[in-house]
Amino acid sequence: MRRPAGMFAINLMLMLAWCGSFGSFGPWTLLTGFVAGFAVLYLTRRVWGDPEPQYFRKTFAFLSFFGFYANALLQSSILIARQVLSPRITARPGVIAVPLEAERDLEIAALANLITLTPGTLSLDVSEDRSTLYVHAMFFDDPEVVLDDIKNNFERRLLEFLR
């Protein structure tokens, strides 16, 4: 089993080989070379010692997370836009304590920053023992929904990609 960084280096070498055989190092050749290298590595993944090595799992988790995140940013902006343009401001804001599953500093920092760009939430601070993230939520009609969204959507997906 190779480390993801090692697999990435092999992928880059395959990309350069692809570009060399095409005799061009333009943006499109580089891109297709990387994708082709990834595909070759994926098809031969058993050779690398593990049927489902981390490298592929993490790449796929990253791509799915990216799509999910872009969608969340769009949703949150639409939510804000509706509230801002409505004749009366009906938001009921509040501060909620979110128990954290993430433990490492990197995980907590990433989660806190992501939460700020998601529907109706803004991270305020992390408790001293790093067990709780305090989040300012703008639409507090149902605290359970807010909490559930952060825990099950964001934290789970982020940890899937980081761990």
Binding site: S77, I80, V84, P93, I96, A112, L117, D129, S131, R163
Partner: protein, 147 residues
């Protein structure tokens, strides 16, 4: 045909981007308290800026400006949340008055304003025993610790 399609995409991106930027500005003006204003400026502002960057990347049709525009999007996504998080935290620490529509404040009374640290609610605090046993994470596969 393709050119028309690209033009249409560009129009949508530019209009949506500037629209969201305008909404962010209106939100900062209309929303009742500073924490809620941070919501408008951080989310709608980021999306508006990113959409305009994408429009530049597609519209110029060259490689160098496109890479720079995409780097701009990445910088927006990385820096905006940090800035708004710091401003929101400072708002809370300074005790800036909040709108009476606020329904709940879990953080109230848990902030040590002098030391600028906050405590976890008692039921969520990480006990010493659970930290010892919870130290092992879900394994990512044999030898995963090597990374």
């Amino acid at each position: 045909m393709i050119e028309l399609l690209v033009e249409l995409v560009l129009v949508v991106l530019v209009l949506a981007g500037s629209g969201f930027a305008l909404i962010a500005a209106i939100g900062v003006w209309r929303l009742p308290d500073s924490l809620m204003r941070m919501h408008a400026s951080s989310k709608a502002g980021t999306l508006g800026g990113s959409l305009l960057f994408f429009a530049v990347a597609i519209g110029l049709g060259e490689f160098d400006p496109a890479v720079r525009a995409l780097a701009g999007v990445a910088f927006l996504l990385f820096t905006t949340p940090i800035a708004s998080h710091l401003i929101a935290r400072a708002t809370y620490l300074l005790g800036v008055p909040r709108d009476p529509s606020q329904v709940r404040d879990d953080l109230e009374g848990r902030y040590d304003l002098a030391a600028r640290v906050c405590q976890a609610p008692p039921e969520a605090a990480r006990a010493a025993t659970s930290a010892a046993s919870g130290g092992e994470r879900p394994s990512t596969g044999a030898g995963g610790g090597a990374a």
